[in-house]
Each structure stands twice: as structure tokens, then as C-alpha cells.
């Protein structure tokens, strides 16, 4: 565990970048430092690998003061990823990744074999190994940066806005990739960003910092969204905090209706039977159960359902795995106001109205409140 204990950083020009910051960074999880520009995130991160020396306070790594360790030994035990990757232009991709193993005295062949392994791990094609950094896209370069940081299998990974210089689509890919890698490797990651969405998506714990290097709140993302510590945090979280918070509620509890679903080859009796459902629309599926679109019951005639005239059903959500936010989003996007739930094969497993989702949200909130009260009563 990394323990930041009442650390202050005063730069020679008098700027106080970090002010008596205390933080316990849990092992094998992602801790995100987030906050407005200039609030001291980078300074905090760089004090962990001693790229910046604290003016006051101590930082402990597994109980030992990092000041007591030789600085380069400490740094080699921590992967370091920066904004524009900072690749070595004169080295091939493979040799970039092999840097720290080589520093640690591994042989050339062993280091390169390890580098190849990492290229695969971060989703880089092996054919890029002999290329130079300028021949890669920004997103690919960033993957190389991550691979290089992971090469010597350090327990700790420090990342300073690693994905902020790439476009949103690439960024999402890199974020998903990081979560996947983290699932496999279980590193202690400290991740700096100024993007609250990224913080909420990636963080197991999120530290919100405010200008002047103060810690405003340190909490898991769900708690941050439900209980912002003060007006600053609330403001920083943005106007759609309520919607975003739904990401943390599972859609598993939604009551899905199967009655308003008919197959495209349904008989007249089957259609008539569905007509009694309390839904104003019926969802037509193909013979395999995959959704085709919505229709009013009276427009459906057995044997001659025109799929071209069906209303689009928007983007379905995965029942159980997706959150209430995804379900609500589907319902809002659907012209009928109903969301379609599908299974892993894309077959419709049920439909649910906006109203039913709203009830589920209220129910989930009530449940969380009871949990909170219970916690307060019996600490």
C-alpha cells in the first residue's frame, strides 16, 4: 500500500502545489486523482516516484519510507506513463518496451521476448515491433507507453493523463483495455486525469482535489456521485450527476415484460393473445427472437407483417450486465418509450417502459438510503 502522509510541496518560487495531503492508496486497484488544472495532481503523482521531492511529510510504500530507497531502484519498481507517451524516437517499438528490463540487467533476448509478450497484452500487432515511434498513431504510441511501463512487471503503475491526447473513440478503447489488463494483472495504479467521467469509469477510489493542493473528497465513485462532500465536489461532478450515478445501479432488478413480444411469423391467434397485454406497442422479432421493431397491435396482420414499416427500437441493453443508466438511455432513445432487453446472443428477453425504469430507480435509491442508515446505526 502507498500511504501519503500529510505531504506538502512548496516549489522554490513559493507555489504551494500540494498542501498537507494524506491519502491511502489501496493495493491492486485503480486510484484516480482528479481535479481542475493546476490543483496539484501531477505534483502528487511525481512525489510517489520521487520525480518531485516533498517539502514536508512522508510517503510510505508497504510501510517503508520511499526516501530511504535508492531513487532509481524505487523508480524501476514503478511503471510510469505520461501524456504523450514520451517514447524514445531513436528506438524501435520493441526496444522501447524492453527499456526497463534492459536497465534491470535482463539479457537482450529475454527482454525482447518479454516486450513481444507485452505488445500482445496491450493489443498491439506484432508487425509493429520493428517500427519507430513516428510510424505509429497517437493511440498506438500510448499503448506502447503502457507496455513499456508494464515491461518489468512492477507492482505499481503511475499514469499521468495517459489518454488525454487521443480522440474520444480511441480513448474509450484505451480505457477498456486498461480495465481488462488490470483485471488480469491486479496492479496498484495511481491514475491522474482532469476528466471526471474517466475518473468515475476507471477508479476503484477517486480522490477529488481542489486548487491549492487540498483533498476535497476521497471515495469510491458511486459514493462520490451520491454523496458529494461539498459544493465544490458537486459542482465538479457536473449537472448530470444523477444520471451518471445510475451507472452504479444494476439493471438486474428490472421487471421485464415478455407479453408484448411477438415473432414475425406469429399466427393470428398469437397476435390476438398479445393484444391483451397492457403495452400500447408490440415488439416484433425475427424467428430466432432477435428484435426487428415496434408496431401498434392493430397494424399487425398474421402472415403479412411488413418489417419495413416497423418503428425502430433504438439500442437494446443487456439485461443484468448493463446498468440502469443504459436501460434508461435505451428507453429515452426508443420512439415508443420502451427499452428492449437482449441476451448475449442478441435475442429479446423482455421489454420495459420508462415508467417501470423510473420505479426501479426510486426503489434502488431507497435501498441505498436504508443501507447508509444501517451503516450509520451499526458502524
Amino acid at each position: 500500500m502507498i500511504r501519503i502522509d500529510s505531504v506538502t510541496k512548496r516549489y522554490p518560487d513559493g507555489t504551494v502545489a500540494v498542501d498537507r495531503l494524506s491519502l491511502e492508496i489501496p493495493d491492486r486497484s485503480i486510484t484516480v486523482l482528479v481535479g481542475p488544472s493546476g490543483c496539484g495532481k501531477t505534483t502528487t503523482l511525481r512525489m510517489i516516484n520521487r520525480m518531485v521531492e516533498p517539502s514536508e511529510g512522508t510517503i510510505l510504500l508497504d510501510g517503508a519510507d520511499i526516501q530511504q530507497q535508492p531513487v532509481n531502484t524505487l523508480r524501476r519498481s514503478m511503471g510510469y506513463v505520461i501524456q504523450n507517451a514520451g517514447l524514445f524516437q531513436h528506438r524501435t517499438i520493441l526496444d522501447n518496451i524492453a527499456t526497463v528490463p534492459r536497465l534491470l540487467g535482463w539479457g537482450k533476448e529475454k527482454s525482447r521476448a518479454r516486450a513481444r509478450e507485452l505488445m500482445e497484452r496491450v493489443g498491439l500487432d506484432g508487425s509493429l515491433a520493428k517500427r519507430y515511434p513516428y510510424q505509429l498513431s497517437g493511440g498506438q504510441q500510448q499503448r506502447v507507453g503502457v507496455a513499456r511501463a508494464l515491461a518489468a512487471d512492477p507492482p505499481v503503475l503511475l499514469m499521468d493523463e495517459p489518454f488525454s491526447a487521443v480522440d474520444p473513440v480511441v480513448r474509450k478503447g484505451l480505457q477498456d483495455e486498461l480495465l481488462r489488463i488490470q483485471d488480469e494483472l491486479g496492479k496498484t495504479i495511481v491514475f491522474v486525469t482532469h476528466d471526471i467521467d474517466e475518473a468515475v469509469k476507471l477508479g476503484t477510489m477517486v480522490a477529488v482535489m481542489r486548487t491549492g493542493g487540498h483533498l476535497a473528497q476521497f471515495a469510491p465513485p458511486a459514493e462520490l456521485l451520491s454523496h458529494p462532500a461539498d459544493a465544490f465536489v458537486e459542482d465538479f461532478l457536473g449537472a448530470d450527476r444523477g444520471i451518471r450515478r445510475l451507472s452504479f445501479f444494476p439493471s438486474a432488478g428490472l421487471r421485464l415484460q415478455t407479453a408484448p413480444i411477438v415473432a414475425v411469423d406469429a399466427t393470428a391467434e398469437q397476435i390476438a393473445a398479445h393484444d391483451t397485454a397492457d403495452a400500447p406497442y408490440l415488439l416484433v422479432t425475427d424467428p430466432n427472437g432477435r428484435p426487428l421493431g415496434w408496431s401498434e397491435p392493430r397494424d399487425l396482420t398474421a402472415g403479412q407483417i411488413e418489417t419495413g414499416r416497423l418503428l425502430p427500437y433504438g439500442r437494446p441493453f443487456m439485461a443484468g450486465t448493463d446498468s440502469l443508466r443504459a436501460a434508461l438511455d435505451c428507453a429515452v432513445l426508443s420512439p415508443t418509450g420502451w427499452a428492449v432487453a437482449v441476451d448475449a446472443e442478441g435475442r429479446a428477453t423482455g421489454v420495459v417502459s420508462q415508467q417501470a425504469i423510473g420505479e426501479a430507480i426510486r426503489g434502488a435509491h431507497a435501498e441505498r438510503r436504508t443501507d447508509d442508515t444501517a451503516q450509520k446505526v451499526a458502524p
Partner: protein, 222 residues
């Protein structure tokens, strides 16, 4: 007679290819002065340039010294040293070295300062020692510019080394000075042609050096 005839006549004369005043001898002498002066200048300029460039300290002092050195007239300096020290290699070498240090020093410093700071920061964060950062990260990326500093120093030495002949030393300057004295324009033009040829050869050598020593990943970016 035009210049080309002079050149033709000079190189056709078999007497110019033999003995202590023959082209091979003079050429070798010139090359030796050049390499010695360049070697000394590089031995002084490169380490100082690399170190100040790496630390970022002393840039202003460097620029001042370099400007002062550039203001010294090579020929005047040589004559002065010749009067003070008498006949010897020192009065020839000192002006050549003084001439070559500023381009090497200043370009090396600038080359190191213009290296992208991000990879250097990454290298330090990965736990590279300062000397490793200097030689394995900064130097390879600064190399094209550093070579260009050495190249302009080398060219300047090649052309200025002709003055050695004024204080009775050899080199290709002999032909020019003796030719002027003897009104043997064939010799003057022949000597000048040889100096120009050596300068071109120097360019070619540095081009080759750049191809061999600079990483393809860096070459594309300069």
C-alpha cells in the same frame, strides 16, 4: 587561359604528384592539420556542450564565450602567436581550434536543449541514471544537430588551414601562397581546387556518418 585550363595544367604536370611538394604529401599534411584541430576542438567542445545542454546550466556564458571566440581573426591570432612563440605547430593549431570550438560547442548545447523533454522525463521516471539519460536518450536524439555542428567546424578548419603555409608549414595552402609569390597561377588555382575538393569530401564523410550513426527513427524527424 581560363581557370579550367589552369586546373588541367596543374593536375597534368607529373612534377606536382611527387616529392615533398607533391599533391599526396600536401594533401596528407592538410588532412592531418584538419583532423588534429577538429579532434582537439571536439574533445573540448563536445563534453562541455553535452554537459551544459543536459543540465541546462551555463547556456548564457557559453554563448558569450562563443561570440568572443568568433570575433578573433584566425590569421591575426596565428601571426601574433608566431611572434610570441616562434616557429612551431602551436601558432597554427590554436587559431584552428579556437575557430572550431564555437560551432561545436554552441550547436551541441542547442541540440541537447532542443531534445523533446517528454522522453527524457519518461527515462528519468523509469529509473535511468543521469549518464544513461545523456548517452542513451538525449545524445541519440540530438545527434543530427551535433553532427551538423561538427561538420561546419570541419569545413571551416579545412579552408582556414591554408594559413599554416604563411608560417612556413605545409598543407594545401603551400600551393596558394607559393603560387601567389611566384606568380604561378596554375599553382594557385590548383591549390584552391584541392581545398575545395577536400571540403566537398568532408561534406560527403559527414553525410555518410549521419546515415550510419543516426537512428532511422530520428532521421525522419529532423
Amino acid at each position: 587561359m581560363n581557370v579550367l585550363n589552369y586546373i588541367g595544367a596543374f593536375f597534368d604536370d607529373s612534377a606536382h604528384w611527387q616529392g615533398y611538394d607533391g599533391i599526396p604529401t600536401r594533401f596528407a599534411e592538410h588532412l592531418q592539420y584538419t583532423l588534429t584541430a577538429l579532434g582537439i576542438a571536439a574533445a573540448v567542445g563536445l563534453p562541455i556542450g553535452l554537459l551544459t545542454g543536459h543540465t541546462g546550466r551555463g547556456g548564457n556564458a557559453l554563448a558569450m564565450i562563443a561570440t568572443a571566440a568568433r570575433a578573433l581573426p584566425s590569421f591575426g591570432l596565428m601571426v601574433l602567436l608566431f611572434i610570441l612563440l616562434g616557429l612551431g605547430m602551436t601558432p597554427v593549431m590554436v587559431p584552428l581550434v579556437v575557430l572550431a570550438i564555437p560551432p561545436i560547442l554552441v550547436t551541441t548545447y542547442e541540440a541537447m536543449r532542443s531534445v523533446d523533454p517528454a522522453p527524457v522525463d519518461a527515462a528519468r521516471g523509469m529509473g535511468m541514471a543521469e549518464t544513461q539519460i545523456l548517452f542513451r536518450v538525449e545524445l541519440p536524439m540530438a545527434l543530427p544537430l551535433i553532427l551538423s555542428g561538427l561538420r561546419s567546424a570541419a569545413i571551416q578548419i579545412v579552408s582556414t588551414a591554408t594559413i599554416a603555409a604563411y608560417v612556413s608549414f605545409g598543407g594545401l595552402g603551400r600551393y596558394i601562397i607559393d603560387g601567389l609569390y611566384q606568380r604561378d597561377y596554375e599553382k594557385v588555382v590548383g591549390g584552391a581546387t584541392l581545398v575545395a575538393g577536400l571540403a566537398l569530401a568532408t561534406l560527403a564523410v559527414f553525410w555518410l556518418l549521419g546515415r550510419l550513426a543516426v537512428s532511422p527513427g530520428v532521421r525522419r524527424r529532423v
